[in-house]
Amino acid sequence: MKKRIRFMFLAFIFILSIGLAGCNNDSGGKKTGGESGADGGSSSGGTLVFGRGGDSTSLDPAITTEGESFKVTKNIYETLINFGEQDTEIQPGLAESWEESADGLKHTLKLREGVKFHDGTDFNAEAVVFNFERWKAGNAEQFYYYNSQFGDVIKEVKAVDEYTVEFTLNRILAPFYKNLAMSPFGIASPEAVKKHGDKYNENPVGTGPFKFVEWKRNDRITLVKNEDYWQDGLPKMDEVIFRVIPENSARMNALNTGEVDIIDGVNFSDVESIESNPELQTFYRPSLNVAYLGLNTERGPLKDKKVRQALNYAVNKQAIIDAFFAGAAEPAKNPMPKTVAGYNDDVEPYEYDPEKAKALLKEAGFEDGFEIELWAMPVARPYMPDGKKVAEAIQKDFEDVGVKAKIVSYEWATYLEKTRVGEADTFLLGWTGDNGDADNFLYVLLDQDNIDSNNYARYANQEVHDLFIKAQSTNDQAEREKLYKEAQLLIKEDAPWIPLVHSEPALAGRADITGFKPHPTGSDLLATVEFTK
């Protein structure tokens, strides 16, 4: 007996000392972190470490659709047209100027002279033609974005002279220039593509401010300064490293200890502690996204429009925003954010009203409610920092109107695949715009053409489809906006989604970072970033 008591006492002391040692380490780590972070403390140069949640799937932007990849390729490649610094207005990129023919079918682009690829070869009209021919030759599996944005539209791309390219289109494509500015259409070095063949996605060569050095999968991607970059004085950093740290809180810790300099996917609950820390600062990405709960229009009770509307009334969006987005979001009523031209502000939102929801369910014959699956994504997304928590809040909202939801989650790739083929009843998803055009939200996410693709709710409405196609084939902006506004009214009535929020994703970094401008599309150009200390 005595022995055992002594043993337990010792064990207790031991546990206590481990706990105390842990505390010690923590504060010690913070201090050294501040110092080691100041390594590249001069006004420019040094290494910038960017911590993010997932690894790239490819370093050839043309063959991927996934945002983590574009974050890196945005800094290796350049596009013919650029987006504005923090908006999606079109600006000169590798093309200095452009001209459109009267019928809108011919576009002539004048290219920048004296630009070189990282492998020393020249950037010219031939290189542009080579890239477009390459994308055109592949199928939708290979070059998804080319096929969805330009597939049947671009008839011919030809080099008029060394620095002039002419595009001939089959039909008018309203967002033609905005599409050209999208990351997947970064111009690659023809020599490198020929040389590396299948392995090109691991050996990217572009004209951008940084050159590729090394890719350790699921760990880090290293880029170095492109000394011959055509813009004088850029980039500021000598080296950029993208590090993968999947867990939000672990990434936050890495920033605290100085292991990384900038992180994305910051938990909104951490914002307060970042702001109170003089060594750190927060950044907000301008909102170009929507998070929604998709209602599969082909499954069970959800086939009934009244049920879908009822569920729309059941969800308390404002409470979700206050709790999980720290207020840095707006409740959504349309499938696209306000900043997109064509947003219909006259749409009456479904206000939070459980009684109305119950009444509608009763009308639809589900007075006693029903059981349903509620899918929640397993990973933090820019538009949805914590899917499982939001799902739990919605689960409770549904329960209040008599709908019993079971929360289901799969590994991310499986989750996307299963929702794509229509296995989910209701599912959390979202979208970050690629080019800020209404077409890129409405047509991509809700047109019947895109069932089995990005139309996860499997929503089909011929009337809406006609509006979308009409809007695609005119260059008259006012007319397009009118068509999209009309479509939003119809979509609201059919309720294939519960639009949840448009959020401003939070990022955080060291306090001495300047020149970091988070881009609404989610891929940030790091050329102007520097440490001021």
Binding site: S269, A323, K388, K406, I407
Partner: protein, 298 residues
């Protein structure tokens, strides 16, 4: 020396006079072990908590108040609130139901199946023994939590499947224990006698061998409940156990870990609950082993 032996004599004699059955004798020595009694009281406390949860808990398990998130412990919310504004005290109290339910039934499941297999292996021997014993060896070669994760991933994550997984991984422990008991008991003379008078195998097994092997099973079972509760919490923590919004303690820990710094009470109370129940079962199990093991009585 002489004095001390003399002093020890009277209680022994007394015990022999008063105590009728070996179980009562065990209870007598269990009672003398203070730590064991404390353990039993902790266990009883949690059992009562589980039974009377609806009476004790001031709120339901999923009464969300999103405007009262992460509130520190106060008179209204003894253990504070979590990130959905739910009362943590209520959730911990209801969580006792889940943990005790999983612990008890998982262990009962493994006892039943483990005993059957162990008896078969021990009594019949030969190839049956070889097959069953090697199967146990294989199962014991896996780290138990890994095996549980594998089973849950196959069956799909839910509380019930976590229970099944925990039951399965504990089978070989009981199987081996009972097999070794059977091996020694079946050579006893009274078994020989039973066989000599032509008693059927099944009767020998279930009326003589099994009851005589029960003591170590009870001890092992009590200790195994503690492990099972920890395993259930681990699975819950990994997102493979209870589903939202069930207040399983391990899951509560997982949900709370991002608020560890700003709202430590979201982790501390479920953590303490796990620690106390497991400690209770362990102390009680230790005491029972001391009380029931004849070798410890000298």
């Amino acid at each position: 020396m002489e004095i001390s032996t003399q002093k020890q004599m009277p209680p022994a004699v007394q015990a022999e006079e008063k105590v009728a059955s070996p179980w009562a004798e065990a209870w007598y020595s269990f009672k003398k072990n203070k730590l064991a009694v404390i353990g039993m009281m902790i266990v009883l406390f949690f059992i009562l908590l589980a039974i009377f949860a609806p009476v004790i808990a001031p709120e339901g398990i999923n009464d969300q108040k999103l405007d009262a998130r992460l509130q520190a412990p106060s008179a209204d919310h003894w253990f504070g609130t979590d990130d959905f504004g739910r009362d943590i005290f209520s959730r911990v109290v209801f969580g006792a139901r889940i943990s005790l339910w999983v612990g008890t039934f998982a262990v009962m499941g493994s006892i039943v199946i483990g005993c059957l297999l162990g008896i078969l292996a021990g009594y019949y021997g030969k190839w049956i023994d070889a097959v069953i014993s090697r199967a146990f060896d294989i199962m014991l070669a896996f780290p138990s939590i890994l095996l549980a994760i594998a089973i849950v991933s196959v069956l799909g994550p839910s509380l019930q499947n976590a229970l099944i997984a925990i039951a399965v991984i504990n089978i070989p422990n009981f199987g081996r224990l009972i097999r070794s008991r059977v091996l020694s008991v079946k050579e006893e003379e009274y078994i020989m006698a039973a066989r000599a008078v032509g008693m059927k195998d099944s009767r020998i097994l279930f009326q003589h061998i099994l009851p005589n092997s029960m003591a170590p099973i009870i001890v092992q079972g009590t200790l195994a409940i503690a492990t099972a509760i920890i395993e259930a919490a681990a699975l819950g923590f990994l997102g493979l156990g209870a589903e939202a919004p069930n207040p399983e303690w391990g899951k509560m820990l997982a949900d709370a870990k991002q608020f560890m710094i700003q709202a430590p009470w979201t982790m501390i109370f479920p953590g303490i609950a796990i620690m106390l129940t497991v400690l209770g079962f362990n102390l009680m199990g230790d005491g029972m082993r001391d009380a029931l093991d004849p070798r410890m009585k000298s």
